[in-house]
Assembly symmetry: C2
Homo-oligomer: 209 residues x 2
DNA sequence: GTACAGACTGAACCGTCATTCAGTAAGTAT
DNA sequence: ATACTTACTGAATGACGGTTCAGTCTGTAC
């Protein structure tokens, strides 16, 4: 078998662990499955992570960091506050089988009884909200948005998205994905005192002339 | 030991199961603990419910029915559409240790991999949304509210509440409980085209003269 | 090439439950 | 009283799966 540096192996294990969490759930996922999928022995996982609990915590942390990096990349690619904001929300919103979302719902539940996980989630939420609040502030500074408190508005907007996402996960037929999109646009327009047309689609506002 | 009718015993077991779920989580809760708490043998639980999976599904169903009854009772006690709506939302909102909420977050997570649970949750969500939509319609008929689609508005309002509740569960210090209340009032006022003062507090609108 | 560190194996171990089952006893009908 | 149903016991069972550990192997340093 191939040998790898501890660092590289750990990252590899974390990735496979996240896959297994998505497939089998955070608590019901088995170390043996992670090992099998990597064509490696169960002992190796414990060798690198000590305990399953530890593995899960590090996997979540890893996923959180990955998501935050991705969020920043997504936002960097848009060129105005309005498009940046919508790009972030569109990425956050559940799409397809909502791969990413399942992990966070599992995590919410597990975090109810695990302080370490709870900390990871709280930090993630804070970062997310701050990123969104920053774009809003940017829009306010540019005279595009009007808002009482950017951080509060960011909290409400992302909370609405969380709530709608969960509904869709639990009950696929509750509403359509583009209804969700439309509601989100309406909410943002209201929160930020701007025109829906400025948010409606990436194209619409990236060609303002 | 006391013998009871199967019916009575089942209800008793379901109640204790819900307590154990709140304390230890849906998946990690043990049948032995339910039995011990009831001063009864583990075999009894299986005797009445066949399997743990079955027990959990029935417990959730039981909780859902309990909550719906409670919701209707809460709403019946208020006397105008505005107070009825806010009474429902206030009861739904997480308070104190958010006892009720933990179960539903666990359930969301478990439902990702279990069709039976998923069905229970989907039905519960539908019922909830319909109840809220009905009050909104009532308000519209009375000329108090103005809204595009009552069911959609109800979905958005309850989704926002779900999202905010989860945030509070995960990160207690994210915001204050009365901030949540305030945001909710603002959202409802906007959705329904009414005055915040009509919703602000139960007293305010139950003494309209 | 020799030595060493540290990645890795995989079989065995062991605690933890859900579930089984043979038996007991409390109600009920006759 | 007698027979019968059905709630209930509690010790045994068996599967599952995280963790251990003694030993192997591989890359690297000298």
């Amino acid at each position: 078998m191939k040998r790898k540096s501890a660092q590289a192996r750990r990252v590899e294990v974390l990735g496979e662990t996240l896959k297994q969490i998505r497939e089998h759930g955070m608590l019901t996922m088995r170390i043996a499955d992670v090992a099998t999928a990597m064509d490696v022995s169960p002992g190796l996982i414990i060798y690198h992570f000590e305990t399953k609990e530890n593995l899960l915590a590090e996997a979540l942390q890893h996923a959180a960091e990955r998501d935050l990096l991705k969020l920043r990349r997504v936002m960097r690619e848009a060129d105005s506050p309005a498009t940046r904001l919508m790009a972030a929300l569109d990425w956050y919103a559940p799409t397809g089988q909502a791969r990413g979302w399942q992990i966070w719902v599992d995590a919410w539940s597990a975090a109810l009884r695990d302080k370490a996980l709870s900390k990871v989630l709280a930090d993630l939420q804070d970062q997310w909200t701050k990123e969104i609040a920053a774009v809003i502030d940017e829009g306010v500074a540019a005279g595009l948005f009007r808002v009482g408190d950017a951080h509060d508005a960011a909290t409400r907007i992302t909370a609405l998205l969380d709530g709608l996402a969960v509904r869709l996960l639990v009950h696929k037929g509750a509403f359509k994905r583009d209804e969700l999109r439309g509601w989100l646009v309406g909410q943002v327009a209201w929160e930020l005192g701007t025109e829906e047309s400025a948010l409606r689609s990436p194209e619409a506002s990236s060609r303002p002339s």
